[in-house]
Amino acid sequence: MSHTAIKQHASILDSAPILSSLSAEAKARLLPMVHEVSLAPGDVLFKLGDPVSDIYLVLEGEVELATQRGVVRVSEAGFIGEEAALGCMKYLASATAKVSVRLLAIAHDALVEPLANAPKLRRDLWFSLSAHLAEKMEPNVAVTENHNLKIGSDVVQSVGWLVTLLLPIAMIMWGENVGLTGQVKMFLAILCATVSMWTFRLVPEFVPGFFAILSIILVGMAPLGVALSGFSSAGFFMAMSVLGLSAVVTTSGLSLRVLLLLLRYTPHNQFCYQLNLLAVGILLTPIVPSANGRIALTTPMLTDMLHTLRGINGSRPATRLSAATFAGSTLFCGVFLSSKSANFVVLSMLSAQLQEQFHWLYWFFAGSVCGIVMLVLYLILSQFMFRNKENLPLSNGVIDLQLKVLGPLSMKEWAAAASVLLFGFAVAMSSVHKVGPAWLALSVLYGLLLFSFLEKDEFQESIDWPFLMFLGGLVGLVNVMFYIGAEKVLGTHMGWTATLMRENLYLFILALSGIVLAMRFVLPINITMVIAATIFLPIASANGINPWFVGFIILTMGDSWFYAYQNSTYLLFKRRSATPYDEGGFMKLNALLTVAKLVGIYVSIPFWRYLGII
């Protein structure tokens, strides 16, 4: 893409009335994801029922939209293909150029995040779509697609509900045969139903937690204070506050600005590009508590870089840079407490004294050796697997324009930067002021809300409330397990685990990693981590093994995957980057990184011993 073209696109994005509700930061992010399309009279842009790809802004000319019931025409400054951004699977009309037409195509994925933060744009796109199709809109296409999808999932759902129904009944009827009695039997029956709902993904993941808490309260298994303890724990408020702080950092555009500056002012050679992409991901890891969110932020950098370095798609340099982008955003999740929701789940499952000990900085410190080992091994593997001597000159044009679109540092960005620095400083000084990190985070969040840097709507939309409900329910469930002593029963029935934990730590790490990796073949990342943590953390506590150590293994190994279907973040990366890399090499490196994680854990053992963790 030429510099002039990019400049034009920046100007179009900035001036298009329908995009006026997008922030400068969102527009800057869109810039690398747009391209221009020219059509001759009579050319077909897409047909009714085609899978959605892009959404188009008409720059010049007129396009005819035809459904089964009629025709409408869209001219300059109008949008077509809005259904692509609004979640439809297929186009609801056919689009044909009436005259010579110039269009600006925006990848439909690129609008997902801006739309989530810009309700007005979403509303405008719906109005635009309705205006084009009005009464002529024919939803059959989308419905057919959904119906087809549903048939597959119906079978799984039926099996899932059957298991959810029968497993607790079996536990209640025959639990005594395996030595389960009274409240422990009832608790495990509730746990079975809850885990089954998670495993088969029968409902959104926070709903089974509600079921568990409700059941515990209704059968009077534990006092309200214990059952609902997850909603009043320091971990709950830590998670809520960090999610709020992250929302301000990302929506303000600060994270994007930092990334752009990093790319702009570092040497332009292949090794530095790789380090940059890796560093950008690592930098975002503690700030953006979602791997998908980080990938959404970093992939445009990669795409843009590869566009500029034209002709290298599928080559070793492209695979190397792609792997760096993905690894930077995903490899160090276990090392930073605030990198993903599952880390907060593990933190909240720790005892009060461990929660106080493993605050943000100490968690990072304890995980740092593993992180360094993984980083070094990554660099060695990547250098070895993708070595090449290609010179890749990169222009700063796009980055400069993106920075220009962002404009000068806004008040919100200042506030976001100040909040991050203040939080980091306050946590580092906690030995002086003795205020816990959760309450420091809540204080920072309070300041942001007070000055409206986080508006009420953003507070509602940017914080993952279903996750917080999930967290509260799960922690309550685990605390009830301790309250009724079910962890001891679990430990007795999984005696081999306890013996391994006590007698052969090295073998235990291998066994636990194997279990977690095996679970990952059938379960998604978060559910694997939560189920493994629910089972193994209480056993570790009951056997005098530091549960953080067990949690760290689960969090680090649980992120591993071998096939694309196992990792939604990879699928997102693949789709957003349009797979410009050699997938075989990429997957091989990814598999080797699983070994690197294991090596990182083993190498950390002397360090953890030195710290008194194990």
């Binding site: 106080e356 000990q357 205020v435 194990i614």
Partner: protein
């Protein structure tokens, strides 16, 4: 450009935020801090009851900042775990810098508190201490005071004589103490052997490694003793080849079912674990007295060295009245009334 009023609002909000933060920060920095360091885990009945005693005093001190640290050494007694628990607790003290460290039971003294003898800031209040003050460097230390934990052996001997008399058992009762080899029990072992039992009674003590040994000693006890005394058994491995710890309840239930002579505990929790009778030191007293000492140090600026070390003054009786009846063991009604009055009849 923001209007004058908007600017004024922003300034006022900033002043409010900074002012509130400064007040809270000042308050937090100046709050007296007490670290309560337990050698064992929170679920251990002794620890639970010491905490009840501590809170009877400390819950009235809302302005104090309290932090609990459990070393879990009954759950995981291995040398590596002891080392790790000591390092972690010392890191926490160094980082949190408490005004008073209440260290409970001998492991907490041995692995942690003794490193802070004559520390310029941290004052040590020990509780549950059965070892020697000299061993921990507490003798003559400027910053140390506390309460000793002594097994109420005199009360125990009186009870033995009463039971023997009422039930027409041996006139000079012989008692054998059987326990695991945890550090605190090693001190018990010494005290029991050194205690002047005679001429009205005889006492001996034996420590075992594992549950197999325990079972053998309990089975054989009838030949050499008229009573078995139990104290701690939470660190019993299943056998010489199986290092898994045997649950306390399993030990006590087996012991009561297989003993040929009456079994009497020296901790109230022995009955909670499944025993029938115990005459033991009071965990509430240990908690209450140590908390009071901490308050005096903080609120009245008392020097620990000037505060005399307290001996054990109280004991508790715990029993299962129905089980004793089934075993046909009669006791003075006073014991039953004491147990019922202190909620220790199970």
């Amino acid at each position: 450009m923001p209007s004058f009023h908007r600017k004024a609002v922003n300034v006022l909000m900033s002043v409010f935020l900074v002012g509130v933060a400064a007040i809270f920060l000042y308050h937090s920095i100046n709050r007296p801090r007490i670290l309560i360091l337990h050698s064992y885990d929170a679920a251990y009945p002794w620890v639970r009851d010491v905490n009840i005693g501590l809170m009877r005093v400390l819950e009235k001190k809302g302005s104090y900042s309290l932090r609990w640290q459990y070393m879990d050494l009954k759950i995981s007694p291995s040398p590596a775990s002891r080392r790790a628990a000591g390092i972690t607790a010392r890191q926490i003290i160094d980082e949190w810098n408490p005004d008073v460290l209440i260290a409970i039971d001998d492991d907490a003294q041995d692995l942690v508190a003794r490193y802070y003898v004559n520390h310029p800031r941290v004052k040590i209040v020990f509780a549950g201490l059965q070892g020697s003050l000299v061993d921990y460097g507490y003798k003559g230390a400027e910053n140390v005071t506390g309460i000793l934990e002594e097994k109420p052996l005199k009360a125990f001997r009186t009870a033995l004589l009463d039971i023997s008399k009422i039930n027409n058992l041996a006139t000079v009762p012989r008692v054998l103490h059987i326990a695991d080899k945890s550090p605190s029990v090693v001190f018990n072992d010494r005290h029991i052997k050194e205690f002047e039992w005679g001429p009205s009674a005889q006492g001996d003590s034996i420590l075992v490694d594992n549950f197999d040994d325990w079972q053998k000693k309990v089975s054989d006890a009838g030949q050499t003793a008229d009573y078995i005394m139990v104290s701690n058994y939470r660190k019993l491995a299943r056998s010489a080849t199986d290092s898994r710890l045997v649950p306390a309840r399993e030990v006590m239930l087996w012991t009561e079912a297989n003993t040929k002579v009456p079994v009497i505990g020296t901790n109230a929790f022995n009955v909670e674990d499944g025993g029938t009778l115990a005459i033991g030191g009071s965990p509430y007293e240990q908690g209450q007295v140590s908390a009071r000492m901490a308050v005096e140090i903080i609120d009245f600026n008392k020097k620990p060295k000037a505060m005399p070390i307290q001996p054990t003054m109280q004991f508790v009786v715990a029993m299962r009245v129905e089980e004793l009846k089934k075993k046909n063991i009669r006791l003075s009604p006073l014991y039953e009334a004491f147990a019922r009055g202190t909620n220790n009849n199970f």
